[in-house]
């Protein structure tokens, strides 16, 4: 780890100010992704701005037809929240399946989506539910948020404050874990919302993406049967020591069918 200065602001404004004033600042949330990078000296910052003392960006709230989750809400809180379970049980499963208890006790939703790891679970929910990311500067549609490998629409110094998830009619998340890391080798989030059917895939490509052809099939008939002949092309999918693109493509199709079944799709 290279040396840095540590700050713990009490408000989003104060944090934003620090981000503007320091030469190379970085936000720190749960630290589960950032700290290993720092320990391995893969990154260097002059200042770490810790968000953990800002209460206004923590917590879970049902707001009409949406669930609003603060950026600094820990995975364990989402996984064990009754409010979440009543509104979007798929998020309960998703958050409860992240890493291990230690990681869930520290890691945050905001940190996960800002990090945009290609194998992270949360991005699939943001995209799959058509959620809205609320920052200190603006609101970003889920469809516009994830830009590529570890890349988002966030501007330098922009702080995620919360995510607004529309409560779906039906939804499920199925993760096929990487045998080593247990991140998603492939993860599929499927949702039937008032606005239509959405399918988001994580782990399979460089960035979370939607499967629009599957969405079209499911819009007509929200059932695993509608996907019987559905396949995914391996082109552009990830290949590494854990799986070829071909296997990932197969896994996406299988997890999608399982997700639709889990969401209570007609059978």
């Amino acid at each position: 780890m290279y040396a840095f200065d540590y700050h713990q602001p009490k408000s989003v404004d104060e944090a934003a100010q620090m981000l503007g004033a320091k030469p190379e600042p970085k936000l720190l949330a749960g630290g589960m992704s950032l700290l290993p990078t720092l320990k391995l000296r893969l990154a260097q910052y002059t200042d770490l701005v810790d968000l953990s003392a800002i209460d206004s960006i923590k917590g879970i709230e049902r707001d009409g037809d949406a669930l609003v989750i603060g950026a600094m809400t820990r995975h364990v809180e989402v996984a064990t929240s009754d409010t979440v379970k009543r509104a979007i049980p798929a998020l309960t499963t998703l958050a409860g399946g992240i890493g291990d208890p230690l990681v869930r006790n520290r890691g945050t939703m905001g940190g996960s989506i800002a990090n945009a790891d290609p194998a992270a679970d949360y991005p699939s929910a943001v995209l799959g539910l058509g959620a809205t990311v609320i920052t200190d500067k603006r609101q970003i549609a889920g469809d516009d948020f994830f830009k590529g490998l570890f890349e988002t629409a966030l501007e330098p110094g922009e702080i995620v404050m919360a995510v607004r998830y529309p409560v779906p009619l039906q939804a499920a998340y199925i993760k096929y874990p990487n045998p080593a890391s247990r991140f998603a080798l492939v993860g599929v989030f499927v949702a039937r919302t008032a606005a239509g059917v959405r399918v988001a895939v994580t782990g399979a490509g460089p960035c979370v993406f939607r499967l629009t052809d599957a969405e079209a099939l499911l819009a007509k008939n929200f059932s695993a049967a509608a996907l019987e002949n559905f396949t995914v092309k391996p082109d552009g999918l990830n290949a590494d020591i854990h799986a070829t693109a071909e296997y990932r493509a197969h896994a996406v199709a299988v997890m999608l069918k399982r997700a639709v079944a889990a969401a209570g799709g007609n059978t």
Binding site: M1, L40, R41, Y176, A180, D240, I241, H242, V254
Partner: protein, 790 residues
Amino acid sequence: MSHAASGEGIGQPIRRREDMRLITGKGQFSDDMNLPGQTYAVFLRAPHAHARIGAIDTAAALKMPGVLAVLTGKDLLADGLKPIPHTPLLAHPAEIIPENTDGTPVFTAPHYPLATDKVRFVGEAVAIVVATSIAAAKDGAEAIAIDYEPLPAVTDTVAAAAPDAPQLWDQHSNVALDARLGDAAATAAAFKRAAHVVKFKTWVQRITGVPMEPRAALSEYDPQTKRYMLHAGSGGAVRLKNDLATVLGVPSDDVRVLMYDVGGNFGTRGMIYPEFAAVAWAARRVGKPVKWLCERHEAFLCDYQGRDLAVEAELALDRDGTFLAMRGSNIGNAGAHTTNFSPLQKGVEIASSIYRMPAADFRARAVLSNTAPTRPYRSAGRPEVMYVMERLIDLACRDFGFDRVEIRRRNLIAPSELPYTNPFGMTYDSGHYREVMDRALKEGDWDGFPARRAEARARGKYRGIAVANYVDTATGQPRERTDITIRRDGVIDVVIGTVSNGQGHETTFAQCINEWFAVPVDKVNIITHDTDIVKVGGGTHSGRGMRLASYVMKIASDEIVEKGKRIAAHLLQAKPAEIDFTDGHFRVTGSNRSVGLFEVAAAALDQSDLPGELRGPLTATCDKVVKEAAFPYGAHVCEVEIDPVMGNVEIVKYTTVDDVGRAVNPMIIHGQTHGGIAQGVGQALLEHCAYNAADGQLMSGSFMDYAMPRADDFPFFDTFISEVPMPSHPLGIRPAGEGGTCPALAVTVNAIVDALADLGVRHVEMPATPERIWRAINGKKDVSIAKAEG
């Protein structure tokens, strides 16, 4: 209180007395040690798999704040340091020593603690930086500039043996050893008349030990006494001391090694590491204690690794399924240094397992490659060849219609045939092989399997079962010593040259002492940690911990009892022949006159009227070379269920019967078996040190990519112990640490193949990942992991 009443003696499943210390953070691992004024070391490591080292510029590094020293291979040569003394082949009297067929000596390459001329694998240490903090040392390491001339690299086992492969050492080809064992003519003749021949080609992939405690070292040099002190965990303190002295070029008594708790060894921590010597040398150079802690990513890069054996084998059978002969070729990948070929050695000499095999002919090659050096890893060589033998048998059954149990029963060596010399020359001493297999089949409910298979099929799952036998030749360092002293304060000191790496010696060794002297286990002091006290001993490997420790402890204890009887006779005014020793008391036979063990010890110290030879501490030493090998054996039954859609394997039932000769602590033995199974199944399903074949980079450099088995990958195991005493051991003890791993590769893969037999699957390579299984089911070509990229 009698030892029987105290319930702590041999055979009792008492709790481990070390556990409370370990689970409450009171263990003393090497990194827990600190010395005043200590400094910190960091190693700069090779970024290339193979490169010539040009100029090294350390000027900028030396200017970094806090940096005290930057030392390279050149400094090391200038200071006269020596290479690590490797003895790649085991010289134990019971071992078969492979020799080069062309009569040339086996090649051993000079392995210096820091690379001197070339780097030969990614992660090899090139320089050591010592500074006032770890961060400062890392800053220093980053400021070192090295001119490398990259060279072509080879990591693949078979490719490295090819004549045109990139050559690691200028003085010798990559093939360091090329031997042939067995009887070629008899084998050829047997194959000629065989009714059936089955062939199997495989690669037992490379894995690594992943001890929970990473390596660490803390060293200090005392210019007054000219002695080096090193705190570092290893498989044995005495060997580490001697090897360190050799590298440093000093007499061995000028080195003191200390190791208290050691968090895992599995063989990969079994000997000196280059960093240990570099740290000790640096401590002398900077005149301050130097501390080093290996980070996990470094552990993946440059801990000694294990397995990595390429095999081609054939089995010849007659019409009835009786084995006639086996032949083949094994290539063991030694990595970049000629560290240890014993997995290859072991992996040929018992390739025929406990089956009657009239003839065999094997070629054995050790090859060098641009990968981390390999060493014995839990049960070195045996799991590999048990895998090959058991796969051959199941393939023969598949191809020629034999029953998998019947063919094994037919070919297992019967007790009446023991001792039996196998076609490579190893002599198995004893065992009830068939009885143990039959028990495993019964406990694993082999007969009830068809119903379970049908039930699973109805759920869309493919269920398979397999049985595998094994034998484990345990040899290792044959010499062990103990010094046992009865102290007047009610404590027994046992100095011994083994080291517990987690096996629970503090408990089990003390149980032996409890059995013989009836002192509570808590009053037995097992002393292994300091080479100023422990002068002789072979450490813990090759199933030699309990086997040799109990051997020498028993002899020394008997001597103490004899000595004690003579003292007691004096005190009780009787003849030594009239004295009995039971329950910790010396008694005059047929009377109620008695004296306790510790009173006798006190009298020996205090009473001046004792004859001279009985005066002084009540103590005995046994220093012995045990020439016999030990042969634990057993059978495992594994049952799996496979999701044919994704190829996932679930182990639904796992049953073992392991013959340990005599179980000193059954609970600890079950624990050893559990861990052993996890390591074996880990290899079968998950683990792999994957190198990129093109550039030699390690692709499994962290837990993100190196798949460790976890508790939820397993069912509850059904482990059973068989106790057929080993004739050559005074207590009948066979080793118990490696049985869990030995047949686990074989039985897991055989169960998978059995599950998929109806789908036409003949074989799945290890690790049998879901993708590999899915490919096999769908008739797709296997994609080797290293080539899966891109």
